[in-house]
């Protein structure tokens, strides 16, 4: 490893920093590009040139590797598509319980982060390039001192950790340095939930949802389907429950519109305190509250009582799920209610968080004490108790609550070492920075949200010379440098208790191939502490302040490592459609009270932070009034050109109480008169009297027809010999998660255009997710919209050069090298799904060439482009079928969007085959086409949403 890193870094040092960081970076970039193209320094392991093709590998034939990506420390299984050794796309791993074949936007965008040329490449010491050797020497001295003090000044700070190998290594360090402490910083997590669980279970416990067994779900600001460790699985399970009989119901109380609200049967906007009051009322009705909640008659009492009845009726099949914005008391109430409803062990499994093993005197292991939080670390730093601080892949200088003032504490630490993908704020504030290898570059392992273990398999050698956390921890513990590969294998050899090398290899290979380690059992349930359950609840919240700020995870940028990712930055937020920015989200009435319009900059101050922050507002229908939602993850000062200088940093206002980072704070809002221009992709969210999205009532779903009658045509229908490809999108199952949009972007080499171009209406996404506010409750309807592949395509007749036409299988294709760019086709497209290269948008960085899908042309400037139904995948499948001498079968062609959809809302296939899945979907009475009156006869149709009247809470009579 020294050999690997030292020369590069010393070259950098030799060039001299007086030449300027820019020059060094340029050289580093050049050398990395060379390394990427295969001319760089070879890794120390034996390698073979690619001249002699490995057997079974053909160029152009992608190879998939199973690996795991981490989401808040938890594993999500993925398959990484590689082309001649270059990872180009990420798909879900069907064998992995957290994926089941789907991958969310963040997982798929990881490929862009992997190739990001702005990732950290050099060991840095106090802002100067240094070498790994220097660091090792310095560390040896430091650790010698720590060993003498039994690790009294040694602190380790990491994000949540599920990796068995990493946990074992942390355990080793804690055993070696008994006074050392391990802290966990989880900015995307919820301290209140952890606190409540700790009280009830006596240890760190997480709820694991089993929504496939649920019939009635009450979500209170919970981002069940969001980009979390279990989001994909929750979406999958809930939609399966919805498709079942009886149809599962969702009730969503939300402070700001979330993905649950969009699928909810009833959605109600409430402030976090309002939700807590509802929980109180439910608890009181169910008799699990020690204080009788105030029962004021009113509309709220009426629907809460109906809700309560329904939750009770679904005994054992309901779930009350509180989200991040709720208080610890509300989480306690939810546990009580769920216990009373018999949900524990059925829809909600409390499972223990894995802890590092602590070796006991008799050679066995016990679990080490739970890690401490960030608050304790900052306290220790301020007290001067921390000499050595190793920060593994965290960025607390940026993403810790402003009240903690982590940066000031950090300045008092003698030796602070930061390890991360980027030279972020913490890297700049630390003495040392170590470039970290990406998850797809280094060996590791992880457990999923349900405890299933899987291996993190690298798919490429570190592009920019990063190290893995395992290697650094091994250094720390033993002053030796074993490779992460060795460490992970040793861990599993121990875990499997296997001495037979051959047997181990067989099992290891199997685990790698499947991406899941079979024997790893899902975690056991933790029994709830009955006494704690009956203990007095803490005092309820005091009077609600006039305006409360809720700190929410952003829909796209959940961790600091994702901030330099242009795909995620440019991905429109589900409700606001804002890109490249965060906004203070407020409701229309609150906006009216302060006379605010979209983009008006307000100053937000709290009692603790009289300086507060400046934030532009965005008015969201369905936002609870009196609540301003502040998405985190923006306002970065370091960490890459894509990440920096966008939006505002809401962490500033975040407060800390009892060591818990609070997710809400009382704030004052004052307009400043300034204005900020947002780059949003959709401006009109009303239906304007049109019916692009439709719904049918539950009982009519087999009878009434959602479709319009097809208008007559003077022309005979065109006949095609081969398959007639078509698609359906089930609007009842679409949760608006954006996974398909990123899948399309990755698959089809779609460029990012930047905020200025988005603001001018030139975003390039082939798949856009339209959102309509179809009803007044703020419940939205999402509609994935891409080229509809019309039979009577209006684009085709107006193209003067025939650059867009039907192919032999009836696909509407765009011939890029024939297109001259009159843009008449886009004007004539009633769906406006065509995208135009107004400038040369393609990324010409060498890394972009390396990660591009070789089956898809990179478009020149001046040409039109659009969804192709993944024609490259169709060709691939057709060729494969021909090679095997068989006809194409249903499911041979899976488009990128279809493959990644967690709820299987998208179905693609041959409509000429009456038995295909898509034909069956199209046979549904819910099937309709958008703008059918124009007689374009689209190949893509939609399945109307189901409106379950009886499930709503609005009606007087409830069953």
């Amino acid at each position: 490893m020294r050999r690997l890193v030292a020369p590069t870094a010393s070259t950098a040092a030799a060039i001299g920093v007086d030449g300027g960081r820019r020059r060094v970076l340029k050289l580093m970039a050049a050398s990395a590009a060379l390394a990427g193209s295969g001319c760089g320094q070879p890794p120390p392991e034996k390698i073979r040139p690619y001249v002699n093709m490995p057997e079974g590998m053909a160029p152009g034939d992608p190879v998939f590797y199973a690996s795991t990506l981490l989401r808040q420390g938890c594993g999500v299984g993925v398959l990484v598509e590689t082309e001649s050794g270059r990872p180009i796309k990420i798909e879900g791993n069907p064998a992995h319980p957290a994926s089941l074949g789907a991958a969310d936007a963040q997982s798929q965008a990881a490929i862009l982060t992997l190739w990001d040329p702005e990732r950290s490449r050099t060991v840095m010491r106090g802002g100067q390039p240094s070498t790994w050797t220097t660091l090792l020497d310095s560390l040896a001295t430091q650790m010698g001192q720590e060993a003498a003090a039994r690790g009294g000044g040694l602190r380790l700070l990491s994000g949540p950790v599920s990796s068995p190998t990493l946990l074992a290594q942390i355990g080793e360090i804690l055993a070696r340095f008994p006074e050392a402490r391990w802290h966990v910083h989880d900015p995307a997590g919820c301290d209140a939930a952890k606190h409540a669980a700790l009280q009830l279970f006596g240890g760190p416990v997480q709820p694991l949802y089993r929504l496939e067994h649920a019939h009635t779900v009450l979500s209170l600001d919970a981002e069940l389907f969001g980009p979390s460790a279990d989001g994909l699985r929750n979406a999958h399970d809930f939609m399966n429950a919805r498709r079942g009989e009886p149809r599962a119901r969702m009730y969503a109380l939300e402070s700001t519109p979330g993905l649950c609200g969009a699928v909810a049967d009833t959605r109600i906007a409430l402030s976090p305190a309002g939700m807590e009051a509802v929980l109180d009322m439910i608890a009181s009705q169910l008799g699990v509250s020690d204080a009788m909640a105030e029962q004021r008659p009113g509309p709220q009492a009426a629907w809460v009582s109906r809700l309560c009845t329904r939750l009770s009726a679904a005994h054992g099949a309901s779930a009350v799920i509180p989200g991040h914005s709720l208080s610890s008391r509300a989480h306690l109430l939810a546990w009580r209610i769920n216990t009373r409803l018999g949900n524990l062990g059925r829809t909600i499994h409390p499972i223990a968080q894995r802890l590092p093993p602590a070796p006991l005197a008799d050679g066995t292991h016990d679990a080490a004490p739970a890690p401490e939080g960030l608050g304790a670390l900052v306290q220790a730093m301020h007290d001067g108790d921390v000499q050595t601080l190793l920060m593994l892949d965290v960025n607390p200088v940026y993403d810790s609550p402003g009240a903690l003032d982590f940066a000031r504490g950090l300045s008092r630490v003698a030796c602070s070492i930061h390890m991360g993908l980027y030279r972020d704020e913490t890297a700049h504030a630390s003495n040392w920075h170590i470039p970290m290898a990406h998850e797809l570059e280094a060996w590791s392992d992880a457990r999923s949200f349900d405890g299933t273990a899987s291996l993190v398999q690298p798919v490429i050698a570190p592009l920019y010379g990063g190290l893995s956390a395992h290697e650094v921890l091994d250094m720390l513990a033993h002053m030796r440098t074993r490779s992460a590969h060795e460490l992970v294998r040793a861990q599993w050899r121990n875990a499997w208790n296997m001495n037979d090398a051959e047997e181990f290899e067989r099992r290891w290979e199997e685990a790698l191939r499947r991406g899941v380690i079979e024997e790893a059992q899902a975690d056991r349930l933790v029994p709830i502490d009955e006494k704690a359950l009956k203990a007095r609840l803490p005092e309820g919240p005091g009077p609600e302040p006039q305006l409360i700020a809720v700190f929410a995870n952003d829909h796209n940028i959940v961790s600091c490592n994702q901030a330099n990712n242009a795909w995620l930055q440019e991905l429109p937020r589900p409700y606001t459609k804002i890109t490249w920015d965060n906004a203070a989200l407020i409701g229309p009435a609150t906006a009216g009270r302060h006379g605010l319009r979209n983009g008006d900059v307000v100053s937000l101050t709290s009692a603790d932070k009289p300086d507060g922050l400046l934030a532009p507002v965005w008015i969201v229908p369905g936002q609870a009034e009196g609540v301003v939602t502040l998405p985190l993850g923006y306002g970065r000062h370091q960490g890459g050109s894509v990440a920096q200088g966008r939006g505002f940093d809401a962490h500033v206002l975040q407060e800390v109480r009892n060591g818990m980072s609070l997710r809400s704070a009382a704030v004052q809002l004052r307009p400043t008169g300034q204005h900020h221009a947002f780059a949003a992709t959709q401006h009109e969210m009303g239906l304007a009297g049109r019916e692009p999205v439709r719904s049918v009532s539950l009982h009519a779903r087999d009878g009434a027809d959602a479709a319009d009658a097809a208008p007559p045509s003077l022309y005979p229908p065109r006949q095609y010999g081969g398959p007639a490809w078509g698609m359906t999108v089930d609007l009842d199952a679409c949760i608006g998660c954006n996974a398909c949009a990123i899948a399309c972007q990755a698959e089809n080499n779609i460029p990012s255009v930047g905020p200025e171009e988005v603001a001018r209406g030139r975003e390039m996404h082939w798949m856009r997710i339209d959102v309509y506010h179809a009803d007044s409750g703020g419940r939205a309807q999402f509609q994935p919209m891409a080229c509809q592949h019309c039979e009577n395509a209006p684009c085709e007749i107006v193209c003067p050069v025939g650059a867009t036409m039907h192919d032999s299988e009836g696909l509407n294709v765009q011939v890029y090298n024939r297109c001259v760019g009159t843009r008449f086709c886009s004007n004539n497209c009633p769906y406006k799904v065509r995208r135009f290269n107004f400038f040369d948008y393609a990324d010409h960085d060498p890394s972009a060439a390396a990660r591009a899908n070789p089956d898809v042309t990179v478009r020149q400037r001046g040409v039109m482009e659009k969804c192709t139904y993944c024609v490259q995948r169709i060709s691939h499948a057709r060729i494969e079928a021909q090679k095997q001498g068989r006809p194409l079968r249903d499911g041979d062609v899976v488009t990128a969007c279809e493959a990644t959809c967690p709820t299987q809302a998208i179905v693609f296939g041959d409509t000429a085959d009456p038995r295909s899945r898509v034909s069956r979907a199209k046979a549904s009475a819910r099937n309709y086409t958008v703008l059918a009156e124009l007689n374009t006869r689209p190949r893509t149709s939609y399945l109307a949403r189901i409106h379950d009247k009886e499930a709503g809470l609005e009606e007087e009579d409830d069953g």
Partner: protein, 466 residues
């Protein structure tokens, strides 16, 4: 000429002032070109006004060159166009310039066939205006292309790929309509110029000019045979040009009405576009006539009657255009079509509504002044009206092109077009190019047909004989 002992002298008719002989007319008109007589006729040194007009317009031409170079280097994204509004200023300018290029041929061809005497003194410069405007119009579709270097793919030419244009696209029809129009207009203009070029050859003092005009005059000697052939050819060309007056703008209108976008998809478009084109064309004829007659003292040739008649045509066109506007609105509501109605209401009250109401005022309200004879014969009023109509017609094209697109079928796709700096640069510098070309024209070619004016002198003199 020998048989006429007595020189014909114009008696003074509404179309021609009194006291002009054939020689006097020729001297007056050729004098502008050859730099004889009057302070305005000595080229570069003539007048600071001339110099500044030339310099400013030439600066605009250079700007246009530089801007188009940058445009071809960087891409069409310089304009404010986007999705959904994929057509912007470039297409609006195209339609506007083509429209201006309409009046020339109408005046020369149709009025010739209708034996309208008042065409005589305005047809030459109106034809030049047509040529320049249509030529500039032809530039804009190229500026507008994503890959302008492949513009020739719209032409049917035999090629190795055996690819032809896609004949169902109105853009292909457009290529034919415009190139035919340009070609016939050029021929018509040139044929009309031949006798005058010969006069200039004969009158020019310098050898260079004699040679230049001589070559262009194609050996014209004023033979009776020449005149006979000339008259026939001119009439035939007029016959050829007449349907083109209608066809060009009809095809330009089809560019829009073939499309399915509400606001484009309308059967009234072809006649309505033709009327609009004549409207803006005559407005431009008046806009040009007023300074010409003022600065070159041509009040006897371009008389108030000319202006009055042009104003009458403008009024008629305005009524036709107003009918078009009304019919569009009526059809939208009568159809009951959600999208058409929404588009129309958006025109009334949406984000482009100010432009809509301004052009309604310019194109419908303002020309109603021309019902009054006093307004028609008042030069400053005419100038203001014609300028307003020109501006109004540009705004009309802008609204048709942009507003129709910005909010069509799916609300999710609605967007906004805001012109970029480059949009304005191209519009203004194309106007500069027009001005520059026109200045060059009046400097080097007779702006009024001398031959026809001599005929008119003769004709009026004979009519006046008892």
């Amino acid at each position: 000429m020998a048989e006429h002992e007595e020189k014909a002298v114009s008696p003074g008719t509404p179309e021609l002032g009194a006291g002009w002989t054939a020689g006097g007319v020729t001297d007056k008109i050729a004098g502008v070109v050859l730099g004889r007589g009057g302070p305005w006729t000595r080229g570069w040194h003539a007048h600071w006004r001339w110099r500044s007009a030339l310099l400013i317009s030439f600066g605009g031409v250079l700007t246009l060159l530089a801007a188009s170079t940058w445009l071809f280097m960087r891409g069409v994204g310089l304009f404010g166009v986007n999705i959904p509004v994929a057509w912007g200023f470039a297409l609006g300018n195209f339609v506007w310039w083509i429209g201006i290029g309409h009046a020339g041929t109408f005046i020369s061809a149709i009025l010739l066939l209708l034996r309208q005497r008042w065409r005589t003194s305005i047809n030459r410069y109106a034809e030049a205006m047509t040529l320049f405007a249509a030529g500039i119009a032809g530039l804009f579709p190229i500026f507008h292309l994503g890959r302008p270097w492949f513009a020739y793919w719209l032409l049917p030419y035999p090629n190795r790929m055996e690819l032809w244009p896609q004949w169902r696209s109105p853009l292909v029809w457009d290529i034919f309509a415009i190139s035919t129009y340009l070609l016939v207009s050029l021929l018509f203009w040139y044929v009309g110029l031949i006798p005058d070029l010969a006069s200039l050859r004969d009158k020019a003092a310098s050898r260079g000019k004699r040679l230049g005009y001589g070559i262009l005059a194609l050996g014209w000697r004023g033979d009776a045979r020449h005149w006979r052939h000339y008259e026939t050819a001119y009439l035939l060309l007029a016959g050829l040009a007449t349907p083109l007056v209608v066809s060009v703008h009809t095809v330009v209108a089809l560019d829009f009405s073939i499309g399915n976008t509400p606001g484009y998809h309308s059967t009234i478009f072809p006649p309505y576009f033709v009327a609009g084109a004549l409207f803006s064309g005559f407005a431009m004829v008046i806009t040009l006539a007023i300074p010409l007659r003022h600065y070159f003292r041509l009040h006897d040739f371009i008389t108030l009657r000319h202006l009055e008649l042009a104003a009458k045509v403008m009024l008629a066109c305005s009524l036709f255009v107003a009918y078009g506007y009304a019919s569009e609105i009526f059809t939208a509501y009568y159809s009951g079509d959600t999208y058409e109605i929404h588009m129309t209401q958006d025109r009334f009250t949406g984000m482009y509504a100010p432009v809509y109401w301004v052009y309604m005022f310019c194109n419908v309200v303002v020309p109603q002044l021309l019902w009054w004879r006093r307004a028609r014969r008042n030069v400053p009023t005419l100038l203001v009206v014609s300028l307003l109509v020109n501006a109004g017609m540009w705004m009309e094209r802008f609204v048709i092109v942009v507003q129709s697109l910005h909010a069509d079928y799916l609300p999710s796709a609605w967007g906004v077009f805001l012109p970029s700096v480059w949009d304005w640069v191209f519009l203004l510098s194309s106007i500069a190019l027009f001005v520059w070309l026109f200045l060059m024209f009046i400097r080097y070619l007779p702006m009024i047909s001398m031959a026809e004016m001599r005929g008119l002198v003769q004709e009026t003199a004979e009519e006046a004989k008892p």
